[in-house]
């Protein structure tokens, strides 16, 4: 399979949401034009993104919403459950434990880590908080595949290093720092300012237009 761009994968996530939403509304068929319009992109982009993964839908008939959603779920690996560890049980960490969307999409938080002695040994949502000293044992026991990094910037790199040594290959990083990792490891950064900057741009353009 040829290399697919990050932006195509990100748009597939968006199409997945659009289709789930349409299915919830009882809609059975959708065209690439409709998917495009909902997401403010061109229908050519939608068709190109889907074409990387084979042929979906029938010319002139559009896509069956359920079939297309299931096929995208397969491409994105959302048909299986993923075991996730959360490192850093501060405010962001606690918010993520409660974030129902993760579980809905198949991402199950199975282990918590924090090095604060006041937190180690406590339970949140039925999960015990472990010290990072026992990281490899817990990763092995809980078959952890993805780690969410919600620790302060100054310890984020060492936390990732420890987890990489235990064989974890996928990271979602909330710390405002660029993480270095081997080539066979993927680190995605969650930066909540990016969407705010799009709003800032929108308001700035509006002011200029006034």
């Amino acid at each position: 399979m040829k290399k697919i761009s990050d932006s195509t994968i990100s748009r597939l996530s968006t199409y997945y949401r659009t289709l789930s939403h349409l299915i919830d509304q009882g809609i059975e068929t959708v065209s690439s034009e409709q998917i495009a319009e909902i997401n403010n992109i061109t229908s050519a982009q939608v068709r190109k993104d889907l074409s990387f993964f084979g042929s979906f839908g029938k010319r002139g008939l559009g896509y069956n919403t359920r079939d297309l959603r299931d096929q995208i779920a397969n491409i994105l690996g959302l048909s299986k459950k993923w075991n996730v560890a959360l490192v850093g049980v501060g405010n962001i960490g606690r918010a993520l434990i409660d974030y129902a969307e993760f579980k809905k999409q198949g991402f199950h938080i199975k282990a918590l880590f924090d090095n604060d002695p006041k937190k180690v040994g406590q339970e949140i949502g039925g999960l015990k908080i472990h010290h990072m000293d026992s990281v490899c044992n817990v990763v092995k026991e809980e078959k952890i595949e993805i780690a969410i990094i919600a620790v302060p910037a100054k310890v984020a790199q060492s936390v990732v290093d420890s987890l990489v040594k235990c064989g974890v290959k996928a990271f979602l990083n909330f710390a405002p720092i660029t993480i270095k990792a081997p080539d066979d490891v993927m680190v995605k950064n969650e930066n909540m300012s990016i969407e705010l900057e799009a709003l800032s741009y929108f308001l700035t353009q509006n002011e200029k237009g006034d």
Copy 2:
């Protein structure tokens, strides 16, 4: 000015981060190729994105990192301070109050709202929590321009409706629901599952390759 795509704006945010990072490292000049490589895109894309906003840098000499960062900051409206309201002081809300990156980028949380009688009147980080009954007064007093929605899905639409009536035109929505708003209002959705789905795709492809 012609209509700029959301993905161009999002990449400008990324370039802004890349440049800030290079400046922190003491690097004074950068080429479109280097910006492209750091962000895993093509240099043609970088040049195209920047070309919408005029001519930056000198052919063969690359860009001055500080100048380009400042110009992108101007385009994105990051040279000014934005007054932000946060609605919903639960776990996500509390995490956002502490999220230092917002302030660093010029987004200042100036007002908190929550309808929980136990929370109304309390203070967090020097900010009083208001009931939504007084929303328009507080929005006016604090000159609120952007609202972050961190309330449960079932009340998110009505919260946005109230704020739109008070003149707020930009929203960052954390509730897992599609918000309807007038054409002159922008709603960006923060969905923390999207990055996890990119990791899921990466791990799925790796498994297939094994």
